[in-house]
């Protein structure tokens, strides 16, 4: 049953087969699209017609590879820059929130902490529509009173950034809090008794201790932004992010270029995961 207890060979074999099937279920879609990205065919699935790199580099009318598809490249750039800004803002505010809830005591702390956790249990759709409704009515109000058209209050690039920040900050807060719980508070007290101000103590003692968690949280916020669709779809302006672009292609015009894009995403993510593992190993 567990490592230290004997169990029948049948039980062990059955368990192993179950685990194997589970991981096959898990990896099958990713492996299938990765292989089919190199299929010399105009359809997204089998049969296998031989190896080609057309879906990456070709620039003919019939086959437009990723690197020849300007719309696709533009949406990738939009996603990368959105992800960067979301990660910066969420890391900043999420880290401040972690410090606030772990180190300070104040009135209504419980209520504020509850609100900060709320995005975990609010469906992304609802965050999207509620932010859209608020931004639109604020925008209308400003237009009526001051005759100003503020882009931020219409579906636009920056509204997407704000919308994704609203939930990404929660994840940053949780990741940074987890590390802050292991922080030896006496270090900060030592700095204070050596006449550091509170701000200096946080900046020179606490933040360096938190650095690995902050970097990790930045990456998580970036990935949350990069793959989000539920919230983004309501807030998007004229320039779509990559998931929105892919979504409309899947619905209306699937070509194997989707396989190629998916393959590149899988490759990047697996690469990042490997780097993460080796970085952790060398730390130990």
């Amino acid at each position: 049953m567990i490592r230290s207890l004997p169990s029948s060979p049948l039980y062990r074999a059955g368990y192993r087969i179950y685990v194997f099937l589970f991981f096959m279920f898990l990896l099958m879609p990713l492996i299938a699209i990765s292989i089919l990205a190199f299929n010399d065919s105009n359809f997204i699935s089998l049969p296998w017609n031989g190896f080609t790199l057309d879906w990456f580099f070709s620039a003919t009318d019939e086959r437009q590879g990723i690197f020849a598809d300007e719309e696709l490249i533009a949406s990738i750039v939009t996603s990368l820059s959105t992800g960067f800004f979301v990660a910066v803002i969420s890391t900043l505010v999420g880290t401040l929130a972690a410090l606030l809830f772990e180190e300070e005591t104040f009135r209504l702390k419980g209520l504020l902490y509850f609100l900060a956790l709320a995005p975990l249990v609010i469906p992304g759709v609802i965050l999207g529509i509620s932010i859209l409704l608020t931004a639109t009515s604020a925008g209308n109000h400003i237009e009526e009173s001051f005759a100003l058209d503020v882009e931020l209050f219409r579906p636009s690039y920056w509204l997407v950034v704000l919308g994704q920040f609203s939930f990404a900050a929660t994840y940053v807060m949780l990741l940074v809090s987890a590390r802050l719980k292991k922080f030896d508070r006496t270090l900060e007290e030592a700095a204070l008794s050596l006449k550091a101000t509170r701000l200096e103590a946080i900046w020179y003692v606490t933040i360096p201790f938190l650095r690995p968690a902050i970097i990790g949280a930045f990456v998580v916020a970036f990935i949350l932004s990069f793959s989000n669709i539920n919230t983004t779809i309501f807030l998007i302006g004229s320039d779509p992010t990559l998931p929105i672009d892919l979504y409309s292609r899947i619905r209306f015009s699937s070509t194997p270029v989707l396989n190629a894009v998916s393959f590149l995403i899988v490759l990047t993510i697996s690469g990042l995961a490997m780097i993460n593992v080796f970085a952790n190993r060398s730390n130990k």
């Binding site: 049953m1 567990i2 589970f22 991981f23 975990l120 409704l133 899947i250 998916s262 593992v277």
Partner: protein, 289 residues
């Protein structure tokens, strides 16, 4: 000196709390209040917004709306249960059965689909399950079937997609509670002659209940609020409540009715989560951890 120190503390406190308040008030509280208010507004004949229960009356009087609502809730509970049944043995295997080194590698495999994002994995299932997809092609080639099985655009493919994107969130919290379960408890029960089933029901499940609750809440929330799997993998009969909200906002542009539906969805998901927390005696703070 004392006074100076106190001021100093206050400045830090405000530096911390002001950005957090801006985040919570402007991005969480006001939008939800706004959604609540808009859900009670309809446009009258003169084109002005007036207070009305019309959007909610519409919901209860149109069968398709409340039926989709009930169906979405029932399916979400079902998928959460399935996710638990499928994921629990995996969490147990990774923490208690296999070696630490294997577990680390398998954990990595487990996380990749999550980071790759739901859209890519849903697309992967379209490629696998389609009438001319990989699975049908394979089955026909080896001669098990002659006609392609109709798997894509059914409730089956939708449930596969929902399970695929959510079950990981059951594995991780259960693993973190199982990690603290002392192996000697299981050994003792085994020495005293308990069967595997008894150990499972009387020791392992009760011990991992906090992890199961956290996992179930996250899975349920992700499934009920999901759009991609029902929309891209589901068929004509697998309408999901989120799709009604999308239709209101992006197709018929009836935002006020959409706000009412959004509010109903929020009530449904937080209601069920609240019941789950009460039944298991947990707090929301624990779910986050």
């Amino acid at each position: 000196m004392m006074q100076n120190n106190k001021n100093n503390f206050n400045i830090t406190f405000y530096l911390l709390i002001v950005p957090v308040l801006i985040w919570l008030i402007f991005m969480i509280v006001i939008p939800h209040v706004e959604m609540f208010i808009s859900s009670f507004q309809v446009e009258n004949d003169e084109g002005d917004m007036v207070f009305s229960f019309g959007n909610y009356i519409e919901f209860f009087s149109q069968k398709i709306y409340w039926l989709t609502f009930v169906k979405t809730a029932a399916y979400s509970i079902g998928v959460t249960l399935l996710a638990f049944i499928i994921a629990f043995p995996i969490a147990f295997y990774l923490t208690k059965v296999t070696s630490k080194k294997n577990a680390g590698f398998l954990m990595l495999l487990l996380l990749i689909p999550l980071w790759v994002g739901e859209l890519v994995t849903v697309y992967g299932w379209i490629v696998l399950l389609g009438d001319h997809g990989v699975i049908n092609h394979f089955l026909i080639t080896i001669g098990i079937i002659n006609e392609p099985l109709n798997m894509l655009y059914t409730n089956f493919s939708m449930v596969v997609g929902l399970l695929y994107m959510s079950m990981l969130f059951m594995v991780i919290p259960v693993m973190s509670t199982l990690q603290s379960l002392d192996d000697s408890l299981i050994e003792a029960a085994c020495d005293l002659g308990a069967s595997k089933w008894d150990i499972f029901i009387k020791i392992i499940i009760p011990y991992s209940m906090p992890g199961i609750t956290s996992g179930a809440i996250i899975v349920f929330m992700l499934v009920i609020g999901d759009y991609l799997a029902p929309n891209l993998l589901g068929g004509k009969n697998s309408l999901w409540f989120t799709e009604q909200i999308y239709n209101n906002f992006l197709q018929t542009f009836n935002w006020n009715e959409g706000a009412a539906f959004g509010f109903l969805l929020l009530m449904l998901s937080s209601g069920i989560i609240w019941v789950a927390l009460k039944l298991s005696g947990q707090k929301l703070e624990k779910v986050g951890a």
